[in-house]
């Protein structure tokens, strides 16, 4: 009990007593970041509104430290918890500083006049989210990203122990996403801030969260560390991904695999094949690829996009059977391109494949798709003179 700062027990939440989310149970120690993930309409915002005390709980209890949420007075709660929701205040005729200063509300007197100490805290908050320079800018004239940071500064001004954020990074560009999350991490480290937020960006959720809670159709899915959640293809199941795929290792996504029988073999590896895979995917062209070690940067993308992947265990000698199978697939494709800048002396298997492709006259130096000719990397430096690409033979993608 004592180890947890935040506890939700047996939580049912919804509007007008109609439950949207049922039987939720999770605990969070002080100074940890919890991300809520799940498909649109799973009830993430409902959960956040409920644990922020803005939506009456249908059933269940939420504890902040030792106190249950329903027993805490509004004013006490305001000093412990701040929120950042998706709707932005209008802030008519308010500067960014004015907006940040509204966070001091629970601490000011009857008429809300700021003391010098309040002003100091406002300044600190502005510094912290790097908007001190635009403090006097009209809030309504600020960009979405700036507004979001102003609202974060506002939330921090409230000197909370816990902050609830609903999709805080949704409208931010990549730089500001990273800055925003860095501020949260800083606050977590310096002040032991506990964070509960919903995130759509899975790659960020995987990186920043200490705990991840999955929601689907109003029920709790898995709850655990990111390592536990981002494994066994659980994310694809959670989001019911059918078109394309989600790579749980990198947190990135791949579009769907081109349909059909592969008629192009890509010798890849060392992370040099991915760009070609993406290009082939865009052109809807099925391909086979190999031989890839299973720890290669190309490997996850190949598994998602290629019709066939010849993979092999990393740090092991490639078995003859694997090379043999690669040759067969090459023969079936009839065309071979190579993305490698060099095929190192230990990568004998791929050297052998290159040799084979050359001998059979299947090797072309570039890929000629539905647009322009792409040279696939430099000449592989394995000491062969390779036939030049012949545009006459390869045109309109029908290699």
């Amino acid at each position: 009990m004592k180890n947890y700062y935040f506890q939700a027990e047996h939580l049912w939440a919804g509007y007008n007593r109609k439950p949207i989310v049922r039987e939720l149970e999770f605990r969070l120690p002080k100074g940890e970041i919890l991300s809520l993930i799940g498909p649109n309409g799973a009830g993430k915002s409902t959960v956040l509104k409920s644990i922020a005390g803005q939506l009456g709980l249908i059933e269940g209890v939420v504890y902040l430290g030792e106190d249950s949420l329903s027993e805490l007075g509004r004013k006490q709660l305001a000093k412990r918890m701040s929120v950042l929701f998706t709707e932005k205040p209008k802030g008519e005729m308010m500067t960014c500083r004015d907006m940040v200063a509204t966070g001091r509300y629970p601490y000011t007197g009857r008429f809300g006049v700021l003391s010098p100490k309040d002003m100091c805290i406002v300044d600190e908050a502005l510094e912290m989210v790097h908007i001190a320079g635009m403090a006097e800018l009209d809030f309504n004239k600020a960009s979405d990203g700036q507004k979001q940071r102003v609202m974060l500064a506002r939330a921090m001004c409230q000197e909370p122990e816990i902050v609830i954020l609903d999709e805080p990074t949704s409208y931010l560009d990549v730089k500001h996403k990273l800055e925003f999350l860095s501020v949260l991490q800083d606050m977590k480290e310096k002040k032991g801030l506990t964070v509960i937020m919903s995130l759509h960006e899975l790659e960020l959720a995987k990186r920043i969260s200490d705990k991840v809670l999955c929601l689907k159709d109003g029920y709790a899915g898995k709850y655990g560390t990111p390592e536990e959640i981002f494994s066994h293809g659980y994310i694809e199941e959670l989001f019911d991904i059918r078109e394309g795929s989600f790579d749980q290792e990198s947190g990135s996504v791949e579009l769907r695999r081109p349909k059909g029988r592969a008629d192009l073999f890509v010798i890849a590896g060392g992370g040099q094949g991915r760009d070609i895979y993406y290009r082939l995917q865009r052109e809807g062209r099925p391909f086979a690829t190999g031989i890839l070690y299973d720890n290669d940067l190309d490997y996850p993308a190949a598994r998602s996009l290629a019709a066939q992947v010849i993979g092999t265990k990393a740090f092991e000698t490639v078995e003859e059977g694997t090379i043999c199978r690669a040759r067969q697939i090459m023969d079936a494709c009839g065309q071979v391109i190579c993305c490698r800048e060099n095929i190192g002396s230990l990568d004998l298997a791929n050297r052998e494949l290159m040799e084979y492709a050359r001998e059979k006259g299947m090797y072309v130096k570039g890929y000629y798709g539905s647009g322009n000719y792409v040279r696939c990397g430099k000449e592989p430096s394995c000491g062969w003179a390779v036939q030049d690409y012949e545009p006459g033979r390869v045109s309109d993608g029908s290699l």
């Binding site: 929120v83 205040p89 005729m93 006049v113």
Partner: protein, 339 residues
Amino acid sequence: MLENRKTARCSMALTFLGVGSLMLLFCNIIFGSISIPAREFGSFLAGGRMDETYRRIIMEIRFPRAAAAFWLGGALALSGYLLQTFFRNPIAGPFVLGISSGSKLAVALVMIFFLGKSIRVSSGALIAAAFAGALLSMGVVLLMSKKVDSMALLVISGVMIGYICSAITDFIVTFADDADIVNLHSWSQGSFSGMNWDHVAAMAAVLSVSVLIIFCLAKPISAYELGQSYAENMGVNTVKLQILLVILSSILSACVVAFAGPISFVGIAVPHLVKRLADTSRPLWMIPASFLGGSMFCLGCDLIARISFAPVELGISTVTAVFGAPVVLWIMAGRRMGT
């Protein structure tokens, strides 16, 4: 420091509005179909003697009328400000939302009922009737606001409620006794005429308490302006605040209707004008500034209504509309352009 500069601007705006109101109050007393020499009025103020006719014009007609314009104008503007805050709608006001018309209907009913029995209606009863009418209209507007989420539609439903109430009022007035009609007709058009000190005392009592309460709500109102969820998170009981806002704005506009009838555009226009003047939207400044701005506006309009075509007197709403309606157009044009 910038914060100080803002405070200075707000204080200056407030001073301007205060001094302006006082000056217009003074003008309202000395100007009219019979102008009173300023020197004579000055010596009267200093405790000297004055011509009896002048004294009676001032003390029995003009001063109570000007005092009423001061109090009721302030009440109208403040009521408009509260409604704009409550509905988060820049063109809300007691008149456009039909609240004034609701009060008008209730007051007309009460007046006709009592006058028919030859009973003099007390100020308190008039205010109570107007308040009941205001709450009734407000209730309908609130119901509508749950159904429609567009600002324009809300205002349109308010205008419709206003028309319905006015139609019923006209219907009642048509069938009232001749003696009542004279009274009711000028009142139902809106006018500050016929005020006496009893009226002024009654409105001052009700309004001063209401305004004081509203001023004490400045802090929660500032939180409410950020939106419901943020206000809740700041520890504001928004349900309680909303109820207070509804009741207080209804009292303010009820008070106006009970004594002066429905007056248009002051409630919408003045808060925007003083917001620009003081360059702030902080309720702590906006509440006194709206009140004084409304006073100044109504005193000015009443002066124009009385003297521009003297001895013919214009309806107060005629003048307020001339000055107020362009402001409303200006607000809407400004919003279009995204400000």
